[in-house]
Symmetry: C2
Subunit: 223 residues, 2 copies
């Protein structure tokens, strides 16, 4: 593709997916702060005839809580426009008739309310933070190893992130631990994996060549 | 090599290394029980002109505590004949002037008494069991990631083991987690890695072709 400006590219597109952290807001104390100009940019995109969706690997809060934070920052954004790993996982679980054993942060558990969880036949891990205890990891492992063919979903594959009190190991690290323990490859649901983006495209009803994606490390990326 | 009996092979050898769990004793409640005939077999080997050493991946107790258990079972065995990962790691740390941050079981910490541990420039993990907490893993990770070239030692690469209350994840699983987090390959000290066996050979002053090795899955294995 010949080099084109962001505005010119947008004209030929049917939809845009915006990453959130680093694009709309910067993480930090008190939930972070909006990046200058981003509230106005979202407004302009909404006024266009482009479809707009947002994606995040946030797995410590429900979308409701997360979106409320963005709204307080001034963003015109609603829950149904936001794609995070947990609801994408719920869709996959239901499609495949899977009942998860959850090892996720308490704040995101309600996203899984509609999923049958008795007699689990797979494991879903998210960034569980303090819940990544020795006991909880053993419990998740025992569910996996008791299955004829272990099925492990990981909500993202991040290695670590920074919080005010220092670096913290992210979900990808615990994914690797369980992969090794069970000789299994996890199915990753979240950026940057194709299965996750496909769910967003499905929702917009468009193809991958018709969408633009912007994250903090790309001025203008097309999937 | 032509097929030979265990006894015939032993005649041409200068030393024997015996694995312990599954060869001398079976694990179980109250520390396990001796395998019938094994106390007598150790006695016969000691009466021969072969050098004899024992090896184990035990990393939850010091050799003193572990050997005392075997002595109570009736084995003629002393601490200096037993090679476990912790003292092998101590030797490697001293050779290379490394100061470890330890993430190991409390019972094995005394093995590292002679090693300088301030201002750590590497991490050593063993089967830390309940000490594999989110906080302790983050702490070990922060030491590694702050190093220009992270150095990680793992006392074994086991995936899991069984205890009375169920399966437990072993050190190898947490090794994989930290490897992924830091883009580093751990140096494994313990069976079945060559560095570990080399320490045993060095102690006997013999070469690998001069030693026989017996573990629970091999009637007669030569390194």
């Amino acid at each position: 593709m010949a080099a084109t400006s962001w505005e010119e590219s947008v004209k030929s597109l049917k939809g845009v997916i915006l990453d959130m952290c680093g694009v709309l807001y910067d993480a930090g104390e008190d939930g972070g702060s909006p990046i200058p100009g981003s509230v106005e940019a979202v407004k302009r995109l909404k006024a266009s005839d482009l479809q707009l969706r947002f994606c995040t690997n946030e797995t410590q809060a429900t979308r409701e809580v997360f979106v409320a934070k963005l709204q307080r920052m001034g963003f015109d954004i609603s829950v149904c426009e936001v794609f995070s790993p947990a609801p994408a996982a719920v869709a996959v679980l239901k499609e495949r008739g899977l009942r998860p054993h959850l090892l996720v942060y308490d704040g995101v558990v309600p996203e899984f309310d509609s999923v049958e969880k008795t007699n689990p036949n797979c494991v879903v891990i998210g960034d569980a933070a303090e819940k990544f205890s020795y006991q909880n990891l053993n419990d998740a492992f025992r569910v996996l190893i008791a299955l004829e063919k272990p099925v492990l979903f990981s909500l993202g594959r991040g290695k670590y992130y920074k919080e005010d009190d220092g670096l913290k190991l992210d979900v990808g690290v615990y994914m690797k631990a369980l992969e090794y323990a069970c000789d299994v490859e996890a199915e990753v649901i979240g950026k940057p994996d194709p299965m996750f983006f496909q769910k967003v495209l499905d929702d917009m009803g468009i193809q991958s060549h018709q969408v633009g994606f912007k994250n903090k490390s790309s001025a203008n990326t097309f999937i």
